[in-house]
Symmetry: C2
Subunit: 468 residues, 2 copies
Amino acid sequence: MQTILSPEIITALEAIVTPNYIFLDEETRAHYGHDETEDYSFPPSVVIKPGTVGEVSAIMKLANVYKIPVVPIGARTGLSGGALSIYGGIGLSMERFTNLEIDEKNLQAIMGPAVITQVLREAAFEKGLFYPPDPSSQGSCTIGGNVAENSGGARAVKYGVTKDYVLNLEVVLPNGDVIWTGANTLKNSTGYNLTQLMVGSEGTLGIITTIVMKLLPKNSHNILMLIPFFKSEQACQAVAEIFRAGIVPSALEFMERDAIDWGLKYLDNVNLDIKDEVQAHLLVEVDGNYPDVLFAEAEKIMAAVEHFDIDEILFADTEDQKNALWKLRRTVAEAVKSNSVYKEEDTVVPRYELPVLLAGIKTIGKKYGFHTVCYGHAGDGNLHVNIIKGDMTDENWKTEVPKGIREIFELTVSLKGTLSGEHGIGYVQKNYMDIAFGTTHLLLMKGIKQLFDPNNILNPGKILPDII
Amino acid sequence: MQTILSPEIITALEAIVTPNYIFLDEETRAHYGHDETEDYSFPPSVVIKPGTVGEVSAIMKLANVYKIPVVPIGARTGLSGGALSIYGGIGLSMERFTNLEIDEKNLQAIMGPAVITQVLREAAFEKGLFYPPDPSSQGSCTIGGNVAENSGGARAVKYGVTKDYVLNLEVVLPNGDVIWTGANTLKNSTGYNLTQLMVGSEGTLGIITTIVMKLLPKNSHNILMLIPFFKSEQACQAVAEIFRAGIVPSALEFMERDAIDWGLKYLDNVNLDIKDEVQAHLLVEVDGNYPDVLFAEAEKIMAAVEHFDIDEILFADTEDQKNALWKLRRTVAEAVKSNSVYKEEDTVVPRYELPVLLAGIKTIGKKYGFHTVCYGHAGDGNLHVNIIKGDMTDENWKTEVPKGIREIFELTVSLKGTLSGEHGIGYVQKNYMDIAFGTTHLLLMKGIKQLFDPNNILNPGKILPDII
């Protein structure tokens, strides 16, 4: 691979994209060299911001001939290092692909990958429509990144994840060819599902240039409640109980005490009076168009949790209170990050196994000497595990923590779960892939990569373990 | 490929599966040599009914060494010829894989591929749970076939198709290796999505031996109404209007007059009084747990359609009436089949384009001299087009109809739709694939097939066109 680009290649790139969208300066390269994954920094050799599919295609053709690594870059909010240019080369920022069309007649959105998730949500909402996936970073992450990582969010428990909304993708392949993966239809049984193969492939198989999503009619009402539990594991147990009561909440979030405390410390304008003995909270939302139904569902939820050891349930009465609770939930990752060096794992298990997972993580943490702060989308069985460096020695952080992470993933897989629910594997989790998959499986994945990208130029060194 | 099996191979097979599950007689082979696709008959050279994953694996290892075609066979209700042994070889009937477990704690079902779809639906229902996909053949088709073809059904409009429920698959690969494609989790961003690659791959990439599906809490109520339209195209137009009124019906079915008349003639015990001038019907269902909400939604639907030229809406008051209407809808295909030689196409377009598609199909039919009966899942933009031979000459049936079908598909694709919404491509549609996909795309599909099945032994001659 050519990781440092010759002047001839830069000249060839300038013939494709006007030079004011090509950046060689250190500051720009450094800026595009990191995402939200720990403190990694892998600057590309050059940052290019193409404006058309034709330009992306021409860049890929060139890169394929000269075997230059190309890393598609979105908003760099990723948590698995998917956008890091670990081998240098071309950092292909897709930020100019911001076109967005809401097709009200077909309840679809057609857009470029650089549309901010919240912008899509608001544009849909204005037309009476609803795009449910809402990653915590929705205010800054892009739809292209969401598709690449198959992002989830709080509403996934009722409405599914990004993959459940993608109907069709325009993709530039590593050799520069352009295809549409499917059709703009709700159903499709026409050949192998390349759309779903592309979703979650973390920019390793092709560069997404247009995305067609389905939308739903919007809901007009919701009820949000915060349930304090005196025992963390009971909060996890209550999750399954709520579903067994016949309720599908539109959000069902779990936060350990630490998570909420750190969040509260981080935010100035959110106050909550929490008893010292409270170990965890569930944040539960139901949504729909009929307030009476929502009250009835809220009552069912209360009945489902009342036999647990809980404190008084807080109902968010106003939009401001709702926003404050959501802000608190969404700030946890940032708050944890501001406190300490950390690593975040994205474990996911069948919902009922959540209490076992939580208890296991604590035991493993004790064994290897690290503290964890856990929170996440409990309704999906998706628990984010923040491993805090705190006052751990650098030596132990380097040697003990990876062992602990491996054990956490082994536990996850033994519970019929897997490594990542919504963050992707990217750079930081790839060498744990052997826990989830045997050699046969990994070789199939590698074969798919080779089929799409025989020269291994597109986001190399991601997803697949270094040794298969 | 070895299409006629030597005595040595039969002996080797008898060492894997006890001989009473191996059938060489003409009657059994003929029985397993057809599905519900037109009147095709392609008997396998031998029918084998393995009982364990180990047996399937051993059969595949043998077949891979001797390059014997293997066709996985379910309930043979398919409409695209996916289960036809077009090159002879081993017909691998999965009918002994009937194990079914409902995991109430995780709202999941774990089962073998031979579970009848309705059996799963009823087993879930008994536990207060709901498996929504309901192909018209639900009483006889199997979950394995549903996964292989990514089947839909009437409820797909609200609840999605088979692919939206598959969490994890145990698969025997063509070389005999066994993998699980994913995890038993609601979310998964861990490597390429082999689960979704397997769904809809029509038995060409692997043999599915266990299926893990997610389930929903069941609904307790529904309202079903039949809306008669004096103009077919207005019925199609009304479909989009209903969604734009903010309603997501649990079913939204379209039936042309011919479809309903043939259905009524075919069924003895269903009577409907329909005015001569009525050209089409919409069958609309809403479901949920709160009758008041359903009444409110039914009223919104009535308001959305009242400005069209419609006759009086019929509400099904009793369970018997509901069953009769559903029976009528589900019988249409059989009724058409009983009347004439026919071909069925499974066109799908963005919902709003349905009136354009319907009008286009009629024009194309006139041009090539054939009559069509159209019906299907209008809420999904999925229109089944039954092309009736009637008194057409054999010559025209052979030469003109394929031209007409090609034009219908070209129209479908020009409307951003595709060839098949829920029936699959299989044997009968494969040589139309060039309409939906360019060479680059088809070569990627071919590459995936070669990666999984380098000897092309697993269900050869399906999905991919004869010439790429």
